[in-house]
Symmetry: C2
Subunit: 118 residues, 2 copies
Amino acid sequence: MNDAFARTPQPPYYAVIFASQRNGEDDAGYAQAADHMVELASQQPGFLGVESTRGADGFGITVSYWESEEAIAAWRQHAEHAATRAYGRAHWYQHYELRVAKVERAYGKPANSKQTST
Amino acid sequence: MNDAFARTPQPPYYAVIFASQRNGEDDAGYAQAADHMVELASQQPGFLGVESTRGADGFGITVSYWESEEAIAAWRQHAEHAATRAYGRAHWYQHYELRVAKVERAYGKPANSKQTST
């Protein structure tokens, strides 16, 4: 098991795909806020999980998973999230792209699993 | 402009979200194959773009974007892709999760854009 993976239910559910290029400023403030936003998101109704990574070049992808469009809309309107989002857009990102998508199919291979037998 | 971002059209279109934990083996072989797969994918009908990153912990997210489910199915069946995928599942990943999703909404902020005027 690896905590970097979201343990989502069977589809359908929703994904918010957030790709961003950090501008290299305020690493400490950004890291603290990012951690806090994940913690806060995980307490919201309809939150299913999150997967996030960022390379040494500052390009990152965060995918959060939600039960419904309504859950995404409620999180979007959450006051502290909205304030942090507005601050982040002005101070932390050179560029970002956000996409909302409906997950229709999913499969994977956990660590140490085997799909063949001998 | 930043080449790490996919320049996708207006939704709807499809996203293949691939989250993976590298096992730390064969970095050179993996990097070469990953680059080649992106190059090959970009030549397929219906390919719209790809965004990919991996952190120092070996956890990565790659999102490829496609015009249709049919384009995803054709790429899935591409012989060289299928062979590399099978090899990779056996040799490069400790764990992976793949999700296919329909992008319904999208927006972003490119570098140097302003949404307010003075």
